[in-house]
């Protein structure tokens, strides 16, 4: 795995890259960028690109970038700058929201779209709890189905530089404070997504409730839903094997 930075539309972006083959562009969730077990697994068969969203980590978010829609346009610029074609776009949580906002704007560079428990769309029956009111302990507990993994994740977070945690939360608030972690307009544009789409969701997700899959499934014509029993939100860590295997099969099917 190598780390690099690229400047796109005047904004510096850090990313990690590993593997060779068809391109998988992975967009991380609210917890911030990390090289999760899922990325390791995918890099065995694909060229995996995992950027750190503007404003996360040590990066700066430009003043003009005020919404997830702005971030989506930025990533479309990134794909153009890197001359990416036939991209398998994968997003988790916040990253899933960004991925959906990219795909409603332009699927020209995409071969497929995989949304892992994406934020961005809320239903009256399945509203999000307030992520900004959670302590680190509660955030950890809610992400994982397995309490041991939650503790382990929390231990790792405590070792990180406190600046990075604060920076991540600030960037998340910029994009997702109001409306809380969703865009009420997004459901009206989901029908524009015309590439094969895979929705994967933990049935016990305590961050983005499982019930939020309904509008995605209904509005995206070529969407298929995989519900994972006994699973929480942190799919790229907790269900890396299963998710990786399913993604691989999905990418193969979506090639043509």
């Amino acid at each position: 795995m190598r780390e690099a930075t690229i400047e796109v539309a005047g904004t510096k972006l850090g990313y990690r890259e590993a593997g060779a083959g068809a391109t998988v562009l992975f967009l991380h969730g609210a917890a911030g960028a990390s090289w999760d077990p899922l990325l390791d697994q995918l890099s065995g068969g694909y060229r995996v690109l995992a950027p750190e969203h503007p404003g996360f980590g040590r990066g700066q978010i430009p003043d003009w970038m005020m919404s997830v829609g702005d971030v989506a346009f930025f990533y479309l610029d990134l794909m153009q700058a890197l001359q990416l074609r036939n991209v398998h776009l994968v997003g988790h949580g916040l990253g899933g929201w960004i991925a959906a906002e990219i795909a409603v704007r332009n699927t020209g560079a995409l071969a497929s779209l995989a949304l892992l428990a994406p934020a961005g769309v809320e239903t009256r029956e399945a509203m999000f709890d307030d992520i900004f009111a959670w302590t680190v302990e509660e955030f950890a507990r809610r992400q994982f189905h397995d309490a041991k993994l939650a503790q382990e994740w929390q231990r790792q977070q405590a070792e990180l530089d406190i600046d990075i945690g604060l920076q991540n939360r600030t960037a998340l608030a910029r994009l997702g404070w109001n409306p809380r972690m969703h865009n009420p307009q997004l459901p009206y544009w989901l029908h524009r997504i015309d590439v094969p789409t895979l929705l994967m969701w933990g049935e016990d997700d305590q961050v983005v409730p499982f019930g939020c899959h309904v509008p995605f499934k209904r509005e995206i014509r070529r969407a298929e839903l995989v519900a994972l029993p006994r699973s929480g939100h942190a799919l790229p860590i907790e269900r890396a094997n299963e998710v990786g295997t399913r993604l691989d099969a999905f990418f193969r099917g979506a090639k043509g």
Partner: protein
């Protein structure tokens, strides 16, 4: 020194055992704790206390804004100020302050203040704040735009007060094609502006700049931090080429006067402890929403347990830290006079009703303060050894 009576209008009947079931007196404490009939009684009582202060000769009476909390029942402080504009005669009415970033229409704030200025015969003092962290949960406003919205709204309000309209204002957060205030404020060039804060150096520097010379008000903090903020104000003034006056500084502090030191401490103890431990009670996540402060100041707040009041405060250590003044009239006036001299502060904002402090003790406090402390402080102010030069703007 001028003396002001500051009222938070707390929900004094709060069931203090709420902490066994809830972790905050702000935003998430269910309003089933609010008894409607008690509410009516408290508003009548509190407005009466502010009116009494006017009759007792206080230089001013102060209200402020907080949302969805037992800490203060004034989500719309201008409503209280409007009632006081009619029922009081001489005291200044200070609204400390409106939380600018929370509003979607700052022109409405300029309008309301202009109305109050007219209705009170030019007796209002306006205040601009950002609101504390919890207000961003209550209002939904994005805390990462808190500073930007504050500065934009402030600019827009000042222009609305002072420029001939209509004019156009197209900011990043606020856009208006017609700004044309009817009524204009009575006071010229505009009502005085006071800025309450807990000592952020950015705020102090902004207030002290020669183009503003806003009165800076240090709120509920140890005397050491107040001194630091006031010294910074004077340094900035000097750098900006003018000498700051005591009238440009204010200090807000809970104050309690009784017959003797012993009685004062005994009577105040449960109420001041309730104030700091129960009413000013919120989780860290709500106090510091992301982006509300810079990463550096958020970090220093997290690292200083004190700032989050994680420790249980006692009346004794609050008095020790200089966060409260309590005692006989002689003790209180000596202490406050000493602070006035040491801090060079010309406005004392005394909070004389505190959390659960009942009506009888509040009235006793007001009367003793007015009779045996206030006159002394007024003279003390006159003796403050500072050269006098009127600031160019309020």
């Amino acid at each position: 020194m001028k003396t002001f009576f500051f009222h938070l209008m707390p929900y004094a009947d709060l069931d203090l055992s709420y902490t066994e079931r809830h972790n905050s007196a702000w935003v998430t404490l269910p309003n089933s704790y609010f008894d409607r009939a008690v509410g009516q009684k408290l508003y009548a009582r509190y407005i009466g206390e502010l009116e009494l202060a006017d009759q007792l000769g206080f230089d001013g009476i102060c209200v402020n804004e907080h949302h969805q909390t037992a800490y203060g029942l004034m989500p719309a402080p201008n409503l209280i100020a409007a009632a006081l504009a009619r029922s009081t005669k001489q005291a200044k009415i200070a609204i400390l302050g409106r939380a600018l970033p929370l509003v979607s229409n700052p022109v409405a704030v300029a309008e309301e203040f202009a109305m109050l200025d007219q209705m009170s015969g030019g007796r209002i003092i306006t205040g601009f704040v950002r609101g504390i962290g919890t207000e961003y949960f209550a209002s939904g406003v994005n805390p990462t735009y808190s500073h930007a919205r504050y500065y934009e709204a402030h600019e827009l309000i000042l222009r609305a007060w002072t420029e001939v309209g209509p004019f156009r204002y197209h900011g990043r957060h606020y856009q208006f094609d017609y700004v044309n205030l009817w009524p204009r404020p009575l006071q010229q060039p505009h009502p005085p502006v006071w800025i309450p804060s807990q000592g952020s150096s950015e705020t102090v520097e902004w207030c002290a700049s020669a183009q503003r010379k806003y009165t800076y008000l240090q709120t509920f903090s140890p005397v050491k931090s107040a001194k630091k903020a006031f010294d910074l104000y004077r340094q900035v003034a000097e750098r900006e080429g003018y000498e700051s006056q005591p009238s440009q500084l204010g200090w807000a502090i809970p104050t309690y006067v009784a017959e003797t030191d012993e009685i004062a401490r005994r009577e105040l103890k449960p109420h001041i402890e309730a104030f700091f431990n129960k009413f000013l009670h919120y989780p860290l996540e709500m106090r510091m929403p992301p982006g509300y402060s810079s990463i550096a100041s958020t970090k220093s707040l997290i690292e200083s347990k004190f700032a989050f009041r994680m420790m249980e405060m006692t009346a004794e250590n609050l008095i020790e830290l200089g966060m409260v003044v309590a005692g006989s009239a002689a003790t209180v006036r000596e202490r406050l006079a000493a602070y006035a001299r040491d801090l060079g502060v010309g406005n004392l904002i005394a909070m004389l009703q505190i959390a659960t402090l009942p009506a009888e003790l509040t009235e006793k406090n007001l009367r003793l303060f007015a009779k045996d402390v206030m006159p002394y402080l007024r003279e003390e102010g006159a003796r403050t050894p500072r050269r006098v030069a009127e600031p160019a703007t309020p």
